[in-house]
Symmetry: C2
Subunit: 149 residues, 2 copies
């Protein structure tokens, strides 16, 4: 079934909304069986909560919607490589697959930093597809920070 | 000023409440200038949210109370060594100091696992005082899991 729903495009649209709101532009979308479960964007600044990353908010919203305490049938699409906190949350909730836009050498925790999913203390490692739309995602972040310098 | 407030004792009392509620017994207390800011315990099971660790809940409650978007003047007392997700949240919120009860070789991320605060992608490392009441904390966890096996 092709519903025409493109999760990564939605994640980028959410990232652009974040930038317009003065937030670091990251968007996250959680999908099951090709259908939207939950989605959000960075809200650290507006909420005064530095843990309000797009992934954390989308994960909590997806858990509330699904009600099983796990996201084992779900995939996460996110415009930037998740950080250490979010990688931990992804493992805890047993997300099946993670698709991310740009690598984040400074703060990423999947293919950079602590590479959490390869560590023995990681109890669940999702499949990872990284570097999707690398240039688009990186450009969006560069533009955001350049305008603020 | 000695108010008689003992944060680690409160964290242990919260951990015991967690065990009584069928949750893995972990409690967390956040303190500023010797006074309670926020406290919580594990609520993963009741909330159906595997990210509802004591530390995450206490951190968000402290942020909501303080309103500055940072916990730089605050210290965290927690009965068990924080996991990777919680270590990430501690760094993001710039907590000043972390006091923890028992080390967690299986899931800890401070003195075990990814040792996040020693990594170059960690943007803020709190002071850490680990292994406080190691035996008490470890015993509480062993008892909890033994009763469920």
């Amino acid at each position: 079934m092709n519903t025409g729903f493109k999760p990564m495009e939605m994640a980028f649209a959410l990232a652009e909304q974040a930038a317009l709101a003065g937030e670091v532009p990251v968007g996250a979308v959680i999908v099951r069986d090709g259908a939207l479960v939950a989605a959000d964007r960075n809200r650290m600044r507006a909420s005064g909560d530095p843990t309000a990353h797009a992934e954390m908010l989308a994960i909590r919203a997806a858990l509330a919607k699904i009600g099983s305490g796990r996201l084992a049938q779900c995939d996460l699409y996110v415009t930037l490589e998740p950080c250490t906190m979010c990688a931990g949350a992804i493992a805890h909730t047993r997300l099946r697959r993670v698709y991310y836009g740009a690598e984040d050498p400074k703060g990423g925790a999947i293919d950079n930093g602590v590479r959490f999913f390869s560590q023995p203390t990681c109890h669940h490692a999702p499949e990872v597809v990284g570097g999707i739309a690398e240039e688009k995602a990186a450009q969006m972040l560069r533009k955001f920070f350049a305008e603020r310098r």
